[in-house]
């Protein structure tokens, strides 16, 4: 590859890394902070929270966590702080209830704890008071306003561009072709998974990846077929640099929604940048060809997932929160595997 082009690409990635670093300094302090994860939280919120702690001593209906400090403490609803009562009444006209965006909480942090969601039977075992307080957030989301805006951008991009293209592509291409394309790009991603496996000490997975690459690239004609799995039982080990960082106990940082790329976290963004260097497409020239192939990969991948996003959108009241939760739990599971 032309060294000048390589340098140019490296510069772009360096810029991303600097931006990521800025985000670290900008939002990492929210990790253990009691209030920064709430975008609207300022000194008043802190004061209100202190009042809540004081009141908690007198009011049994309110419990405030002692430790560890939750990532996003919303002010518990107390008698001194109950504006939502009015909201509740206001949003209750006799007929035709108008539900505004404000009716949906911005994040699930402000939920009730005191019962284990995995054990539904425990609720109501004995009369108990409802503890109203914050719950530890799955991930700090201090950039929620930016993220929600990007979520909207991606939503439009999906419905206006990606979905129609993927639908058309699905119509004109036979299933075996799409499967072949998927296998081809998956095979190209071997270096990412191989390095990820080695760095995490998963040598069996690394061996399997290496074996898969050799077999699928040769017998599988450049990775279009997957004889490694079919005939040799070599399973892929789905690792990436973001997971490797997670395995080294590096926390998520904050949640970020990137335009085009979708949900991520600070850690996974850094990981993604590392993955780019390991992807052979990065070194492909001319650039137009690399972009074209990347586009094909995205459209092909989407053709398998048409309807998934729509289901989440039609099922849940706030798809942004649901996708954020799904992303974080999915990544957590991947790291734990």
């Amino acid at each position: 590859m032309n060294p000048l082009r390589l340098r140019k690409k490296a510069k772009h990635l360096a810029a991303i890394a600097v931006f990521a670093l800025w985000l670290v300094t900008g939002c990492a302090h929210g990790k253990n902070s009691a209030v920064t994860a709430d975008p609207g939280a300022g000194p008043e919120s802190i004061k209100a929270e202190n009042n809540a702690v004081k009141e908690a001593k007198h009011n049994k209906a309110v419990t405030v966590p002692v430790e560890p400090a939750p990532q996003a403490v919303k002010v518990p609803k107390t008698t001194a702080n109950k504006p939502s009562k009015d909201l509740a009444t206001a949003s209750h006209p006799a007929e035709g209830v108008v539900v505004t965006e404000e009716d949906i909480p911005e994040s699930p942090e402000e939920i009730v704890i005191g019962d284990d969601v995995d054990d539904f039977f425990d609720d109501g075992d004995a009369p108990k008071e409802l503890p109203v307080t914050a719950v530890e957030a799955l991930v700090p989301d201090p950039l929620i306003k930016f993220n929600r805006a990007m979520f909207e951008v991606n939503d439009r991009l999906y419905f206006w561009c990606l979905k129609p293209v993927a639908k058309g592509y699905k119509k004109v291409t036979p299933a075996f072709f799409r499967k072949g394309v998927m296998n081809f790009f998956y095979n190209l991603g071997t270096p990412v998974r191989l390095v990820g496996s080695v760095l995490q000490g998963k040598y069996k997975g690394a061996g399997s990846e290496l074996g898969r690459f050799v077999v699928n690239t040769t017998v599988g004609v450049g990775g279009v077929w997957d004889p490694a799995d079919r005939f040799f039982g070599l399973k892929p080990s789905e690792e990436d640099f973001g997971q490797t960082l997670g395995a080294y106990n590096i926390d998520n940082g904050c949640y970020i929604v990137w335009p085009f790329l979708g949900p991520s976290t600070l850690r996974d963004t850094v990981g993604k940048a590392g993955d780019v260097f390991l992807n052979p497409l990065f070194y492909l020239t001319p650039n137009e060809l690399a972009w074209g192939l990347t586009g094909l990969d995205v459209v092909n991948e989407t053709s398998y997932r048409i309807g998934d996003y729509e289901t989440i959108k039609s099922t849940y009241m706030d798809p942004y929160v649901m996708i954020r939760d799904l992303y974080i739990t999915h990544r957590k599971k991947k790291i734990a595997e």
């Binding site: 209906a61 609803k77 008698t79 109950k82 509740a88 949003s91 209830v97 019962d115 425990d122 109501g124």
Partner: protein
């Protein structure tokens, strides 16, 4: 000798009390899940049947297999009308029996819309790896069981069932370890902290309206 007779008696007692109930329940649950899955796949693959009829037939199976009253109760949790938790100043957020009944109807319809209308009847070639039923610890005298499945060797889907005396019914589904009831419960709880039950029901009604109108648009 007396001790041996006593021990023998004890062993027989244990055999007659614990063993049969375990295997019977397990077999019952296995049979329910297996039959339901076969029925669903049979309808989905039926040639010459239009999608609307398939949906109607599938809905009948779903209603027979799922316990929507319990799903509703668990989704609402402490806000459910029969919960004994003290809600304090949130007491106006507890559903009345009538409100919960209305919510159950709307929520059931919402679930049906979400999952049945998403079924791709053109692509029903799925490989289902069905594991034997596991009997879970009974809670409040209600028997519970779990059936783990693996769809297309990729996606784990677990069904959690209960038996309140008559039949086994599904009350939760876990997709890749994530409970659907828990997901709804978290979201609705957050809404109920800011709004009264009627608002949540209305929000669901709006979702259903949205769904119906998008379905009509697709048809036209």
């Amino acid at each position: 000798m007396k001790r041996i007779i006593f021990l023998l008696g004890l062993v027989i007692c244990i055999m007659f009390t614990a063993e049969p109930s375990f295997s019977d329940d397990g077999a019952e649950v296995d049979s329910l899940i297996k039959t339901s899955m076969n029925d669903v796949l049979g309808i989905a693959r039926k040639p010459g049947m239009n999608n609307e009829d398939k949906r109607t037939e599938l809905w009948k199976i779903v209603q027979k297999t799922f316990d929507f009253a319990k799903i509703t109760e668990f989704t609402l949790g402490q806000f459910s009308y029969n919960s004994t938790s003290v809600l304090g100043e949130y007491s106006d957020r507890r559903f009345t029996k009538a409100e919960q009944e209305e919510f159950r109807e709307v929520f059931t319809r919402h679930l049906g819309n979400t999952y049945l209308d998403r079924m791709d009847f053109k692509n029903v070639d799925v490989i289902i790896d069905l594991k034997p039923a596991e009997i879970l610890e009974a809670k409040k005298g209600i028997k519970r069981a779990q059936v783990k499945t693996m769809i297309n060797k990729k996606t784990p889907i677990d069904y959690i069932l209960l038996n309140e005396g008559k039949d086994w019914k599904i009350y939760d589904v876990k997709v890749e370890g994530r409970s659907l009831v828990s997901a709804f419960r978290t979201e609705y709880k957050a809404i109920l902290l800011k709004n009264k039950p009627k608002v949540l029901t209305q929000m669901l009604k709006d979702k259903i309206k949205e769904h119906e109108s998008s379905k009509t648009k697709k048809k036209s």
